[in-house]
């Protein structure tokens, strides 16, 4: 899921500004692929463990010092986005833990910060990402 220029991104009480994009990636943390006796192809496949990662790409202007987000911080991440052709916005929410805060600096693009977060399910069974219309 790719969200270009979301209206607002908040992490706990902090509102992150200058967000260029937010990305939700899903990948398998564990896979099952079982083969039987009838031939060479897998007869069963499943993904019993999934990782959901949220990446926030932020244009950084000026100095922030110790107020910048850091790994290990946990809070509710909410991303408000406009719906094409619709007056109402939608909000993506998830409990999330920051895994990495990385910066890239170039003359062409300036300073870009990428914050990578692990989305955490409430009970391990429910999808950690919820989307609601506002």
């Amino acid at each position: 899921m790719l969200i270009i220029s979301p209206r607002e991104v908040a992490f706990g009480g902090a509102v992150w500004t200058g967000i260029a994009a937010a990305v939700v990636d899903r990948s398998a943390a564990q896979t099952i692929e079982e083969f039987g006796e009838n031939g060479p192809y897998a007869a069963f496949a499943d993904v019993p463990r999934q990782r959901v990662r949220v990446r926030i790409v932020q244009d950084v202007v000026g100095e922030e010092g110790h107020t910048a987000p850091g790994p290990g911080q946990e809070a509710v991440l909410s991303i408000t986005m406009a719906q094409a052709g619709r007056p109402r916005s939608r909000r993506l929410s998830t409990k999330a833990v920051i895994l990495a805060v990385e910066h890239e600096v170039s003359l062409k693009r300036g300073s870009v910060r990428t914050i990578t977060l692990a989305a955490v399910s409430i009970d391990g069974a429910a999808d950690p990402i919820t989307i609601e219309s506002l």
């Binding site: 099952i32 079982e34 083969f35 499943d46 069974a125």
Partner: protein, 128 residues
């Protein structure tokens, strides 16, 4: 066709593979005997051992337990031999189901599943 034991399709919920273990003489080295000798001593033919490795698959917790319970209900004491038939129709008579071993916790993805091995022996003699 599915693999059966005593006519029960215990393994058909998921893919499984059957391995017939080594056959032939049990041979012991004479190197540690008194006095030591350089040769080997044959004891007799090893028991036929068959391992089935597979995965039980169900849509719910209770359905998976039904599959597990059906399997473990055949672990009798003393063992009662029966006919094991593999998925290609090969018959193995006089086999006793002696061990069911889950290979880890239940995996909860799209389906609930449990990897396992099941061991069957053709005992040399009954009763022991």
């Amino acid at each position: 066709m599915s693999t059966t034991f005593k006519g029960l399709a215990l393994f058909s919920s998921g893919p499984h593979r059957l391995t017939v273990s080594r056959q032939g003489q049990l041979v012991l080295s004479e190197a540690f005997e008194t006095p030591p000798a350089p040769g080997s001593r044959y004891i007799g033919p090893v028991e036929l051992r068959i391992e089935i490795s597979g995965r039980l698959i169900a849509a719910s917790e209770s359905a998976l337990w039904l599959l597990r319970d059906a399997m473990t209900a055949q672990l009798l004491d003393p063992p009662a031999p029966g006919l094991l038939v593999d998925s290609h129709g090969r018959n193995f008579a006089d086999m006793s189901f002696v061990r069911f071993a889950p290979l880890g916790p239940v995996d909860r993805g799209r389906m609930l599943s449990l990897a396992y091995t099941a061991r069957f022996l053709r005992f040399r003699q009954y009763p022991q």
